[in-house]
Amino acid sequence: MKKIEAIIKPFKLDTLKEALQTIGVTGMTVSEIKGFGRQKGHTEIYRGAEYRVDFIPKVKVELVLNSNMVEQTIATIMEATRTGKIGDGKIFVLPVDSITRIRTGETDEEAI
């Protein structure tokens, strides 16, 4: 089993959610984060003093799924969230040892 962490632009979340549902992803966990990367933040002035906004608001989507789903899912994410502009984000894949559904105690595949 794998965990996919996708860092995307906030306004792409709805599109992504719908795209993932169509390929049968039944669950995900989402959080608001701030990103630092190639996409340089802008310089602003507050009461006369300059400052750089380095961290840009992004959304992190976490998906745990079967290894065999990974490729398709990545493809779907790219399709749904890509704008071609710098700052589109990244997709990380991490190994997962086990999954448990708290409600039923089911584990691994059944728990997804």
Partner: protein, 452 residues
């Protein structure tokens, strides 16, 4: 009093103080200076002078109540929109009150109350700037002992900015700041006072017997027409209407919106109460009663209808309902019965809920419901005078409504259209998605997150 008096006085302190603190003529003398000849009989102040002072004091209190309505608008609009556009909305409202007061002093006042019309009853202009007539003419004799010239000006000036503020909410979250500011300046400096002169300036509609006590039409509809024109030229916010469906965009701060509505109601005591243009007890207190009961009935009407239609009672509808009742009663607050005011307010409450939903379905995107509250309920209130007051004609009221619509909508549309072709009206997509706070002002409303 003069120094002599002081030394005679058995309690020096306060005398010295008031003397020290203000370098003006002693009170009574000062008043004598503005007394009608008839009352010049020595030290004793006449009842008429005292009455003049009361009336004027009430009008000044009404003025500061109308002022705080601008904070009401700012809070309501900010609360009903997204956090990322909050600074922009607050900025617009802060700028508008400044623009409104200054332009009204520069030309608005004399456009709205020209005295003599150059084009009979239709247009007149008494010249740029403001200056009080000397002596009693600017004082007790100015408005027959009701208020001074300066009171007249500042009370009217506070009204002026209101019309522009109404627009601000409807076009929020997507309009370019400078285009909006230019529009507001023109609209509040020229259109609002000019059309206002037709009725309050004693123009043709006044002659026809059209009645609008405190501005359901002259203020609220005038603002509402401009809001409608602006929204139509701007189009809806991104993501509001997708695939035929409506995606609601939540207001980000309900306590702020609630503060806004209560402050507007608070200010309305001056907006309507001050429109009596004197402190005449019977009339001002009646206006307080009709105004409050209409607002209360508006809340009840909006809650009931929204509860029925939405299964759950909607706070934002209850808030709009209060404003609907207030706008609805504004035209006839002094000429309808108390029972009438309840009915007018209740119906306004029903109307605003229906109107918000319908306007949304026809894909006119009005984030705060300004069009429903100010335009639709403004029209309802104006017509209601023809229904609930025996002394006024429904047809004349209808004529007035039509006349203002016929001029204000095209005028606003035209101004927005020109601005659109010159500067563009709408911020670009990326700025809209990111929010106007960063885009137009380079700051956030709720900054100071540890991660900058």
């Amino acid at each position: 009093m003069n120094t002599a008096d002081i030394n005679l006085s058995n309690k020096e302190l306060p005398m010295k103080k008031s003397m020290a603190r203000k370098a003006v003529l002693p009170l009574l003398t000062a008043l004598l200076a503005v007394l009608p000849a008839t009352a010049m009989a020595g030290e004793e102040v006449s009842g008429s002078v005292a009455m003049y002072v009361v009336n004027n004091t009430w009008m000044l209190v009404a003025t500061l109540l109308v002022f705080i309505m601008h904070l009401g608008f700012a809070s309501l609009e900010a609360g009903m929109t997204q956090a990322k556009n909050t600074v922009n909305i607050l900025f617009k409202n802060t700028a508008i009150i400044a623009i409104g007061l200054l332009t009204y002093a520069m030309m608005g006042f004399n456009l709205m109350y020209p005295g003599d019309f150059s084009i009979a009853g239709f247009f007149g202009f008494a010249g740029f700037g403001i200056a009080a007539p000397d002596g009693v003419a600017g004082g007790i004799a100015y408005a027959d002992g009701a208020y001074s010239y300066w009171t007249d000006f500042i009370f009217q000036a506070m009204f002026a900015a209101t019309a522009a503020t109404i627009v601000s909410g409807a076009v929020a979250e997507r309009i370019k700041l400078h285009s909006f500011l230019i529009f507001s300046t023109i609209y509040v400096a020229i259109i609002y006072p000019w059309v206002g002169s037709w009725k309050w300036g004693g123009g043709w509609l006044d002659a026809k017997g059209f009645y609008d006590f405190a501005g359901s039409t002259l203020v609220h509809s005038v603002g509402g027409w401009a809001a409608l024109a602006g929204v139509m030229l701007l189009g809806p916010r991104l993501g509001k209407y997708v695939g035929g469906g409506i995606k609601p965009i939540m207001g980000h701060n309900m306590p702020l919106a609630t503060i806004g509505v209560f402050l507007l109601w608070f200010g309305w005591f001056g907006f309507n109460g001050g429109s009596v243009l004197s402190a005449e007890p019977g009339l001002v207190s009646l206006v307080f009663v009709t105004t409050c009961l209409a607002a209360a009935a508006g809340i009840v009407g909006a809650i009931l209808l929204s509860w029925v239609l939405q299964k759950k009672p909607d706070l934002t509808m209850a808030l709009n309902g209060a404003l609907a009742g207030l706008v609805g009663i504004t035209a006839g607050a002094d000429v309808v019965s108390v029972m009438g005011s309840v009915v007018i307010g209740f119906i306004a409450g029903l109307i605003v809920v229906a109107s918000v939903m319908i306007i949304d379905r026809v894909k006119i995107d009005d984030p705060v419901g300004a069009i429903s509250v100010h335009l639709i309920c403004g029209i309802w209130g104006t017509l209601a005078v023809g229904i609930f007051s025996a002394d006024h004609s429904f047809l004349i009221q209808l004529l007035g409504v039509a006349a203002y619509g016929a001029v204000c909508f095209p005028a606003a549309f035209g101004i927005f259209f020109v601005l659109k072709s010159i500067f563009g009206l709408r911020v670009d997509e990326e700025e809209e998605l990111q929010g106007l706070d960063v885009g137009e002002h380079g700051m956030e409303a709720y900054g100071g997150f540890v991660i900058k």
